[in-house]
């Protein structure tokens, strides 16, 4: 097994656990970024450098930045951390953590048992990604395009401003 892959996957798991258990939202998001970066390395090792780069550019570089952007504007203080601490009790996380520990155990078992085929180190370059996106998976691309378009339209509708009128004499003027 590739040592880089193992290290990166362990970092990913640890960072994700840290991201879940942090009370401070920004710290949690920082761990999420680290998790994305390690997943990008996993992609890279598995022979998908294009996807790895896109993972960093899109997820770590843009989406998490936007989430942080929103959190900065919310001005969360100590009260929210307290609230989080109350909500995040042992009883609540017991169920999900048992389930995910089972999954993790299965994953480790598969990795150790060598039952899977060896890592396919055949690199998937950008050209083949593009060919498959616009060939067999064109319907998915078009559907996500429609979804994004609806998002754009919604954002435009929310962000539209009424025309500001500086003076009441100018209200009925059309320019």
């Amino acid at each position: 097994m590739n040592i880089t892959f193992i290290i990166a996957s362990f970092v990913a798991v640890l960072a994700t656990i840290m991201a879940i258990t942090r009370y401070n939202l920004i710290h949690a998001l920082l761990y999420l970024v680290i998790s994305f970066l390690s997943i990008a390395i996993v992609f890279f090792v598995l022979g998908a450098p294009f996807v790895a780069a896109l993972e960093i550019i899109v997820y770590a570089g843009a989406i998490v930045v936007l989430i942080i952007f929103v959190i900065m504007m919310l001005n969360l203080k100590e009260e929210s951390v307290e609230q989080e601490r109350i909500w995040f009790s042992r009883k609540v996380i017991l169920g999900p953590s048992i389930l995910s520990i089972v999954l993790l155990g299965e994953l480790i078992y598969i990795l150790l048992s060598h039952e899977t085929t060896a890592l396919t180190t055949q690199a998937v370059d950008a050209k083949s990604v593009g060919l498959s996106l616009y060939g067999p998976y064109i319907i998915g691309v078009e559907l996500s395009g429609l979804l994004l378009m609806s998002g754009v339209v919604g954002a435009y509708h929310l962000g539209r401003q009424k025309k500001k009128v500086q003076h009441r004499f100018l209200e009925n003027q059309t320019t």
Binding site: A60, V65, M72
Partner: protein, 321 residues
């Protein structure tokens, strides 16, 4: 160790040492050039041509009190200035300075550069947020919006070059420009990339996250000592990064008339763009924040999409005929 490993190590440390030595030198260069364009002398007392002012500046930064505000988020506050230097230095990994002088030739070099520049946004955001200061927060919010927006145009403007080369590797891109630099067929892409690059390094005139006259020093208001120094050095290495990217992508990298070695051509082109950056700072006023956003989304985005579509169409037409 065999010869290849040793030479690779030499190149790696050479690039690192070169960058870290030239970056403080740029402070001197910028001050002298700004003085020249403003009919002044600039620093000319310490050492020959005032070059030792670099040393004085560095010593001053080292001996300043390294103060962390008690209201700041300590861990993130310390982390933020490191991110900018790390990401910018990592971006230099993929840049080919001359044939053979490259740290690592990745087949996704261009995407790696974009990824690292998008990670660089974190230093601004986290620095401003962890300072727990109104002005710093305003600066980092502006910075986040600006960097995310201009990353889009930056990526899109580069796709024309990628289409013409058919590869993300920067060495392939340079070698595709042996006979014609991409600045000629991709002039629109060049202009958009240059503007987006200035915005991405938040240099003047797009230094809206810092904006001394409005936000004190923006996202690094609370930083002092060497932490501020890291932001400073990161900005200058960022200038060098954008200049060398423009050189690689649009000006034919190391290609040039053969009376000079390839590395010299690369450095000459890079410094030409550094001069241009400083000229921009000397001559242009800062736009308002909404003007910057409007310019980006209403002018640069359609233009870069148009550039992409037209380039793609012409390449398709040429392949079929």
């Amino acid at each position: 160790m065999d010869d290849a490993t040793i030479s690779h190590l030499l190149i790696t440390f050479g690039v690192l040492a070169g960058l870290l030595l030239v970056a403080p030198g740029l402070i001197w260069l910028e001050r002298r050039l700004l003085a020249l364009w403003q009919d002044r002398y600039g620093p000319n007392r310490a050492g020959p041509f005032g070059l030792l002012v670099v040393l004085a500046d560095t010593l001053k930064l080292f001996f300043k009190e390294d103060w962390i505000p008690p209201f700041a988020d300590k861990k993130v506050f310390v982390l933020a200035p490191a991110i900018v230097v790390i990401t910018v230095l990592l971006s230099f990994v993929v840049i080919p300075f001359a044939p053979g002088i490259i740290v690592a030739d990745m087949n996704i070099g261009l995407l790696f550069f974009l990824a690292m520049s998008s990670m660089g946004a974190y230093s601004i955001i986290l620095g401003g947020w962890s300072s727990n200061n109104k002005y710093a927060l305003l600066g980092s919010m502006r910075g986040a919006a600006q960097l995310i927006s201009y990353e889009v145009f930056m990526g899109l403007s580069l796709m024309g070059v990628v289409l013409m080369t058919g590869s993300f590797s920067l060495i392939d891109i340079v070698e595709a420009q042996r006979y014609q630099w991409f600045i000629v067929p991709q002039f629109l892409g060049f202009v958009i990339f240059l503007i987006a690059g200035i915005a991405e390094t938040h240099r003047l005139p797009f230094d809206i996250p810092e904006a001394e006259s409005e936000l004190i020093a923006g996202f690094h208001s609370e930083y002092s000592g060497m932490k501020f120094g890291l932001f400073f050095v990161g900005e200058y290495i960022g200038i060098m990064l954008i200049s060398s990217m423009v050189t690689v992508l649009f000006l034919g990298g190391w290609y040039g008339p053969s009376f000079l070695p390839p590395l010299a051509w690369f450095i000459i082109k890079m410094f030409g763009f550094i001069f241009f950056f400083i000229l921009l700072r000397a001559s242009l006023p800062r736009p308002r924040y909404d003007q910057l956003m409007e310019f980006g989304w209403k002018i640069l985005l359609p233009l870069s999409l148009l550039n992409l579509v037209v380039t793609g169409g012409i390449i398709l037409w040429m392949n079929t005929h």
